[in-house]
C-alpha cells in the first residue's frame, strides 16, 4: 500500500482507512513491538505500544501523504522508534544524578560492547538458520511457542493441527534443534 492509495482511502472515509491500516499492518507492527518489549513489558504494554504506533500513523495519514513509497517501511520505522521509547520508559529506574569531575569522566565508559553485539547478531542469524532447517510447521511451532510464548492450543489453531500433535512435534523439533546446535558448538 502506498501513501497515494492511502490518501484516496482517507478522502472516502478516514475511519475505513484507519481500520484497513490496523487490519493490514496490525500483525507487522505487533511483531516489531514484541521484539523490543518482549523482555520487559506485559501483553498490555505491548498492545498499548502498538496502539501508540497506529495513532502516530493515523496522524501521518491526516497531515502528510505526499510520498509514492510503500508505507510499510515508514510503519516499520515508527513502530521501532515507538517501541524503543516504550522500552526505555518501562526499564527506567529511579532517576539518579551524581556530580562528577573531568577525571572521573574518563573512567565512565559505555557499556555497549561492539564484540558482544556482533557475536549476538551472528548467534541470532545461526539460530534462525537452524530453526528454518527444521522446515514447516516445526519452525513456526518453535518460534511461536518459545519466542512469542503462545501455548499449544493457540499454536494449534494457526498451524491447523491438534494441541497434542503440536506438543509432540514441538518436543521432537526441540530435540532436533538441540542436536543441530550442539553440532556447530552452541551449548543449549
Amino acid at each position: 500500500m502506498t501513501s497515494r492509495e492511502l490518501a484516496v482511502m482517507m478522502k472516502k472515509s478516514p475511519v475505513t482507512c484507519h481500520k484497513a491500516l490496523v487490519k493490514e499492518y496490525g500483525r507487522y507492527v505487533y511483531a516489531i513491538v514484541y521484539n523490543k518489549l518482549r523482555g520487559c513489558g506485559t501483553n498490555e504494554d505491548i498492545e498499548e505500544c502498538v496502539s501508540d504506533v497506529f495513532a502516530d500513523i493515523f496522524m501521518k495519514c491526516e497531515f502528510d501523504l505526499s510520498s509514492e513509497n510503500d508505507i510499510k517501511y515508514l510503519i516499520a520505522i515508527i513502530a521501532k522508534r515507538k517501541a524503543i521509547d516504550n522500552f526505555r520508559r518501562l526499564t527506567a529506574k529511579a532517576n539518579y544524578t551524581a556530580d562528577t569531575d573531568e577525571d572521573d569522566m574518563k573512567e565512565l565508559v559505555s557499556d555497549f560492547s561492539v564484540d558482544e553485539h556482533v557475536e549476538r547478531s551472528e548467534l541470532r542469524r545461526v539460530l534462525l538458520d537452524k530453526i528454518d532447517e527444521l522446515g514447516e510447521p516445526d519452525s513456526t511451532i518453535l518460534i511461536q511457542k518459545f519466542y512469542y510464548s503462545r501455548n499449544s492450543t493457540e499454536i494449534a489453531q494457526s498451524v491447523s493441527m491438534t494441541a497434542v500433535a503440536v506438543r509432540q512435534r514441538c518436543a521432537r523439533a526441540m530435540d532436533k534443534l538441540r542436536a543441530k546446535l550442539v553440532e556447530i558448538g552452541m551449548t543449549v
Partner: protein, 469 residues
C-alpha cells in the same frame, strides 16, 4: 527443570532477522485488532485536538510595535466590583471574629490549675476528610492516591492545632453515595494458584454483605462473622483513574495470605471487584455456594498445574511420564515424574505442600532434592513408607531402600554383590558400602525382598492428566 530460553537471543533483532520473525508471528485475532484500533483511534483524536490547539495558539501574533494583536477585549460586569467588595469585608470580619474567639478560649482554658486539654476531641465528629498520597510503583510511575473517608467515627483523642480542627469540621459531611452501586451480597473468591482465569482453581471462601452505610459483614464458610467499614479511594495512574473500595478491619481481606485491602472496580466487569493485581482474589456479585477446597482437590489441582507447566516448557520430551503413589502413606499421594525408560532414567518425586497449595520437590534429610530408581521406575512399599529399587547391571546385583521420616528421606540400607562377574567363591558382598559376609548380605537382601513392593513411575503420559480431574 531447566528453563533457560535460548530464544531470548532473538530479542532486538536487526532488520533481516526481524523479517524472518515477522513471517512466523502468530495471527492476531479480530477481537484483539478491534481493541488496538479503538485504543489507537482514541489516542489519535487526542493528538489531533492537541495539534489543532497548538496551531491556534501560534496564530496569535505580536506586531513590531509591541501591540498585542488578536486578543479579545473583555469588560467586567458592573456588579462584580460590589460583590467582591462585600465578600472581602465578610472575609476580613470572619477572620477577626474567629481569631478573637480563639484567643479568648485559650485564655479561659490555660490556667495554672487546669491541665492542658487537647484542641480537638474528635470522638463524636463524623467527618469526611481527603488525603492525597503520592507513591511510586516499580516502573517509577508516580501514583496519586486520594482517600475519601466516609462516615468515619473518630474514637481517638487527637491533640492537634485549632486550625486543623476547623478544617475537619468545615468538611464534615456524610456521603455514602459511592457505596450505593455496590450494596448487596457478594461472594469472596480466591484462586489457589493466583489465577482466577482458571475456573477450576477458584474457591468460594465466604459471603460479603455490603450495606448502604458503607459497612460490611463477612461470613466465612465456617460461619465466623466479622465486620468492617468501606472507604472510597481513587487511584490515578497516568491519565486514568481507578475507583477502588478500601475494606477496613481484620476480616476476610487479611484472614488469607492475600493482604490486599483495596478492591478495584472497572466498567468492563461491574459485578466483580478485584483485590491486588486482580488474579489472586476478588468478590463477585451474588451469593454463591461456598466450597472450601479440600486437601483432596487441592493436590489434584496443584499437580495438574505443575504437569501442565512442564508439558508447555522447553524441556518437555515425549519420554517423560508421570504417576501417583502415596509413598509416605499419609493419605495424599505423591507425584512421580519419570525421565525415560533408559537405564539411567530417574524418578523425581514431589509432594503437595498444603499451606501454599503448591507442588514441592521431594528432599532427603539434608534438604537436597533427590531422584530415584532406574529405567524410570521405583518400588514403593507404602505400608512402611519405603522407597527402593533393585537391579542387575554389568555383573553387579544391588538393592537400595529409603524410608520416609519427619526429616525427609533417610537411606535405610543398600546391598551389592558382584556374583555376575566372578565365581561364587570369589564374590564380594557389601551392605551399606561395607564389606560383609555372604550370610550378612543375604540377611539384608531377605529384608529387602520381604517388603510388599509395587512398581511406580510410568503409569500416565503427559497427554493424559485425567487421573487428576
Amino acid at each position: 527443570m531447566k528453563n533457560k530460553n535460548i530464544f531470548d537471543i532473538l530479542e532486538n533483532a536487526e532488520y533481516d532477522s526481524m523479517e524472518r520473525l515477522i513471517d512466523k508471528c502468530p495471527l492476531i485475532s479480530n477481537k484483539q485488532l478491534d481493541k488496538i484500533y479503538v485504543m489507537s483511534e482514541k489516542k489519535f483524536k487526542k493528538k489531533k485536538k492537541e495539534l489543532e490547539r497548538t496551531k491556534k495558539d501560534n496564530n496569535k501574533k505580536m506586531s513590531g510595535n509591541y501591540a498585542v494583536d488578536g486578543v479579545e477585549r473583555s469588560r467586567r460586569p458592573v456588579w462584580f466590583t460590589t460583590l467582591s467588595t462585600a465578600a472581602s469585608i465578610i472575609l476580613i470580619a470572619g477572620v477577626a471574629i474567629g481569631s478573637t474567639i480563639m484567643i479568648r478560649g485559650n485564655k479561659n482554658n490555660i490556667t495554672p490549675d487546669t491541665p492542658l486539654l487537647p484542641a480537638v476531641t474528635a470522638s463524636t465528629i463524623k467527618a469526611t476528610g481527603t488525603t492525597n498520597t503520592v507513591s511510586s510503583d516499580k516502573n517509577g510511575t508516580n501514583i496519586l492516591t486520594t482517600f475519601t473517608t466516609a462516615s468515619e467515627t473518630m474514637n481517638s483523642t487527637a491533640i492537634t492545632t485549632t486550625v486543623i480542627a476547623v478544617e475537619v469540621i468545615t468538611e464534615a459531611s456524610s456521603d455514602n453515595e459511592f457505596i450505593k452501586p455496590f450494596v448487596g451480597k457478594w461472594t469472596y473468591q480466591i484462586s489457589d494458584i493466583n489465577n482466577l482465569n482458571i475456573e477450576s482453581t477458584i474457591v468460594n471462601k465466604g459471603i460479603v454483605d455490603i450495606r448502604s452505610d458503607a459497612t460490611y459483614t463477612y461470613t466465612d464458610g465456617s460461619g465466623n462473622v466479622s465486620t468492617g467499614k468501606i472507604q472510597k479511594a481513587i487511584e490515578k495512574i497516568g491519565s486514568s483513574e481507578l475507583l477502588k473500595l478500601v475494606f477496613s478491619g481484620d476480616s476476610f481481606v487479611s484472614s488469607d495470605s492475600y493482604i490486599f485491602h483495596s478492591a478495584y472496580y472497572t466498567d468492563i466487569k461491574p459485578d466483580e471487584l478485584h483485590f491486588g493485581n486482580g488474579y489472586a482474589s476478588r468478590i463477585v456479585r451474588g451469593e454463591l455456594t461456598l466450597n472450601a477446597q479440600s486437601n483432596m482437590s487441592g493436590w489434584k489441582t496443584a499437580y495438574k498445574n505443575y504437569l501442565e507447566a512442564i508439558r508447555e516448557g522447553s524441556e518437555y520430551t515425549s519420554q517423560l511420564m508421570w504417576d501417583l503413589c502415596d509413598l509416605d502413606n499419609d493419605g495424599t499421594p505423591e507425584l512421580l515424574i519419570s525421565n525415560g525408560e533408559y537405564h539411567a532414567a530417574r524418578v523425581n518425586y514431589y509432594h503437595y505442600y498444603e499451606p501454599d497449595g503448591t507442588t514441592m520437590f521431594g528432599c532427603d534429610s539434608n534438604g537436597m532434592i533427590v531422584d530415584f530408581g532406574e529405567y524410570g521406575e521405583i518400588m514403593s512399599c507404602k505400608e512402611e513408607g519405603l522407597i527402593g529399587w533393585s537391579n542387575t547391571h554389568m555383573g553387579y546385583n544391588y538393592t537400595i531402600m529409603y524410608k520416609f521420616t519427619d526429616r525427609g528421606l533417610v537411606k535405610l540400607q543398600s546391598t551389592i554383590n558382584n556374583l555376575g562377574n566372578v565365581p561364587n567363591e570369589e564374590a564380594e558382598y557389601k551392605v551399606n558400602d561395607e564389606s560383609v559376609s555372604k550370610d550378612e548380605h543375604n540377611k539384608a537382601l531377605e529384608l529387602f525382598n520381604s517388603k510388599n513392593w509395587i512398581n511406580a513411575g510410568r503409569r500416565y503420559s503427559f497427554e493424559d492428566l485425567s487421573a487428576l480431574n
